[in-house]
Amino acid sequence: MNLRRDVFQAIADPTRRAILILVATQSMTAGAIASNFDSARPTISKHIQILTECELLQPEQKGREIIYHLNGSKIKEIADFIEPFRKMWDDRFNKLEALMKNYKIK
């Protein structure tokens, strides 16, 4: 459960979200990511490190460079996170609807 919390902490930061959006359009090196931000290079490196640690970014060694890719399955996992809660209410409301449709017939 701790790792999960880390993922949510990771995406809570606006700069890190911006990095994810950037990498979503195109895989790139840390240098290329940093060139899109005004922040100091080490700051961006730290953000990339956090995103990599919680597997939102996947590093790939290409020759002398490391290219960062977006990890789609991890992103989907976050999107699905709210789903059980939604499903719980959806089930209740479906029951309510079915119940009241019969009520109408009476």
Binding site: M1, F8, I11, A12, F81, I82, P84, F85, R86, K87, M88, W89, D90, R92, F93, N94, K95, L96, E97, L99, M100, K101, Y103, K104
Partner: protein, 153 residues
């Protein structure tokens, strides 16, 4: 196809919205919230008390094998038939603080209706924790099922 029940929980906010369009006229939707017997059926709980009036209170209890698994209660702050219910919600025997719930009912075309539920939490952390609960329970259930299967081997 658009989902009938939607949950909106904006990041960093201590509130969430649940909206649902029902294939029911407004009157019947509201009745499902008004009548204790009907509430008990679709919420799968025992309705101990439901005083549908300003300054009234409510209490639900869910038991399994004679043990109370879940118990919640609150007070009703506003009750306007076919329009709105404003109430507090507190889960008993938990550290969750009281929540404030605004339920708004509206009629839509062709005998359909919409419910908008706005829930306000004490902190963002408590909201996120509540959102995680069914998720955590799902994990537990999956784990229990796995154990059962393993036992049968």
């Amino acid at each position: 196809m658009e989902l009938k029940t939607q949950v909106h929980a904006e990041e960093g906010k201590q509130e969430l919205f649940i909206t649902r369009v029902f294939d029911l006229p407004l009157r019947l939707l509201f009745k499902a919230y008004e009548d204790p017997n009907i509430v008990a059926q679709w919420m799968s709980t025992q309705v101990i008390k439901l005083e549908n009036t300003k300054h009234g209170s409510w209490q639900f209890e869910t038991s399994y094998d004679g043990n109370v698994l879940f118990s919640a209660s609150g007070v009703i702050l506003e009750f306007v038939p076919d329009q709105k219910i404003t109430r507090t919600f507190k889960m008993e025997n938990t550290d969750f603080p009281v929540q404030l719930e605004f339920l708004e009912f509206e009629a839509l075309e062709n005998d359909t209706s919409r419910l908008t539920m706005q829930i306000i939490f004490k902190t963002v952390a408590f909201r996120d924790q509540l959102l995680q609960m069914p998720f955590a329970r799902g994990l537990n259930m999956a784990h229990n099922r796995l154990e059962e299967i393993l036992k049968q081997q």
